[in-house]
Amino acid sequence: MGFLKNFGNSSHTLLKLPSGSFTVDREGSVLVGTLPSTFPTALMTEIGREVLDAFRGAESAQLPLSELIMNYPSLRITARDLRGGAIVFLSPRGPYALPN
């Protein structure tokens, strides 16, 4: 039955959660980063934008924040305020998470 192993080796790639960091300016543009090049820039920009909006929303709600931590079952996003911009750290987590 070993022939079954040959099935399903399709070339479609899955999005790997990266480990690393990047910085965004106050407009949300990505300045520098250590994430692998395989990680889509659009996603990096999206994360940066959401984080900046969350910081700004907190300030409007009279709750100024310097750090935000978003915990997902398989990823932790840590964002630190950088005078209107932010530095964002991504670290995969979970019961079997391996550093990459």
Binding site: M1, G2, L4, K5, F7, G8, N9, S10, H12, T13, L14, L15, K16, L17, L43, E46, I47, E50, D53, A54, G57, A58, S60, A61, Q62, L63, P64, L65, S66, E67, L68, I69, M70, N71, Y72, P73, S74, L75, P92, G94, P95, Y96, A97, L98, N100
Partner: protein, 350 residues
């Protein structure tokens, strides 16, 4: 008459689907097998019918398995899910389990592997949900009854989020219980009100002084009655929601608490906040924003958002149909905020 379960197989390879359909049809429970060759088709089938189990490949065009599973886990939490893939990267195994998938299987290659795979699927189809982890499908009442009926001596340690309880059993009799500051019968009733959790059996402590004198059967009956009464209150329109709020307000380090219903009613209640509307809007917006981001990243459902600030910290989390936004003293560390937040959620759940 026993109704056979419906199983949905999702893989972009039709030949493989046919093969697994044949293999799964041999299961003793004779499930009805349906197939789909794309994530979109599978979603449509799940919408149209009630399935017991989804078996899903990971690598697929357009909508991959992780995308399908993140939606499925949110929309159909009762649906059992299995990943069957040729992907060997451990990160994906980790992410699949983090999404709450029941089993991760590499595509079986030998007859022995197929046999084991079928046994797992059969067991999954027959599994009844709920209960305490450690003894599947058993309620805490079942566990205590088993210990008492078998005249055992043991110490049961029960964990429910940040709450811990202990029940001492000596020669089949309940002799003491402890839950936070409560002891004896009150602690026992408190522990039995926890709807889920984990337990472990520790060695008996024969020298423990007896604080509970009632027979275990009487105590279990009384606890069951108390639980029934509280459920009736929960279902009633006039449920005293301020009671748990008052309890939460006493948690150490807590500065404010805001509870929000995530259902259509959208009801909210706040303690310690001068301007709850603005905080509520921010909290709800963030939960939604980071939920959607988690789906895009295929990182699973958002568990908690923590903000650290110079004036106070804040943590936002969701539990069932309730959302919580809790303010914490700024002198607390991130770890302390996380631990206390778990306690708040456990207190609310119990």
């Amino acid at each position: 008459m026993e109704v056979s379960h419906k199983v949905l197989l999702l893989d972009d390879d039709p030949d493989l689907l046919d093969m697994y359909k044949d293999i799964l049809s041999q299961l003793p429970s004779r499930p009805e097998i349906f197939t789909a060759t794309s994530g979109a088709r599978a979603m449509a089938m799940l919408e149209a019918d009630t399935f017991r189990l989804l078996i899903c490949d990971l690598r697929m065009p357009k909508m991959d398995g992780l995308q399908v599973l993140s939606i499925v886990r949110r929309k159909y939490p009762q649906l059992r899910t299995v990943v069957l893939t040729s992907v060997v990267d451990e990160q994906f195994r980790s992410r699949v389990y983090a999404l709450g998938v029941d089993l991760f299987w590499h595509k079986p290659g030998t007859e022995q592997e197929i046999k084991m795979f079928l046994e797992c699927i059969e067991s999954l189809l027959g599994r009844v949900e709920g209960g305490f982890r450690g003894v599947q499908s058993k309620s805490l009442v079942d566990i205590i009854q088993l210990e008492c009926l078998s005249q055992s001596s043991a110490l049961l340690r029960i964990t429910n989020g940040g709450l811990t309880g202990r029940i001492w059993i000596q020669n089949g009799e309940l002799i003491d219980a402890e839950a936070g500051e409560l002891a004896g019968e009150a602690a026992f009733q408190k522990i039995l009100s926890w709807r889920a959790g984990m337990f472990e059996t520790l060695p008996a402590e024969p020298n423990r002084p007896r604080k509970i004198s009632k027979p275990y059967s009487t105590l279990l009956l009384e606890s069951a009655q108390a639980l029934d009464e509280s459920r009736i209150t929960d279902d009633g329109a006039s449920s005293p929601s301020s009671v748990p709020m008052t309890e939460l307000a006493h948690v150490e380090g807590l500065e404010f608490v805001l509870t929000m219903k995530s259902d259509a009613t959208g009801k909210s209640e706040a303690r310690g906040l001068e301007n709850p509307e603005r905080m509520e809007a921010w909290a709800r917006q963030n939960l939604e924003r980071f939920r959607a981001l988690g789906e895009r990243l295929q990182a699973g459902p958002i568990e908690e958002i923590t903000g650290l600030g110079p004036q106070r910290h804040v943590a936002i989390a969701r539990q069932n149909d309730m959302e919580f936004c809790v303010g914490w003293r700024h002198s607390m560390t991130l770890q302390q905020v996380n631990d206390m937040m778990k306690k708040v959620l456990a207190l609310w759940a119990s």
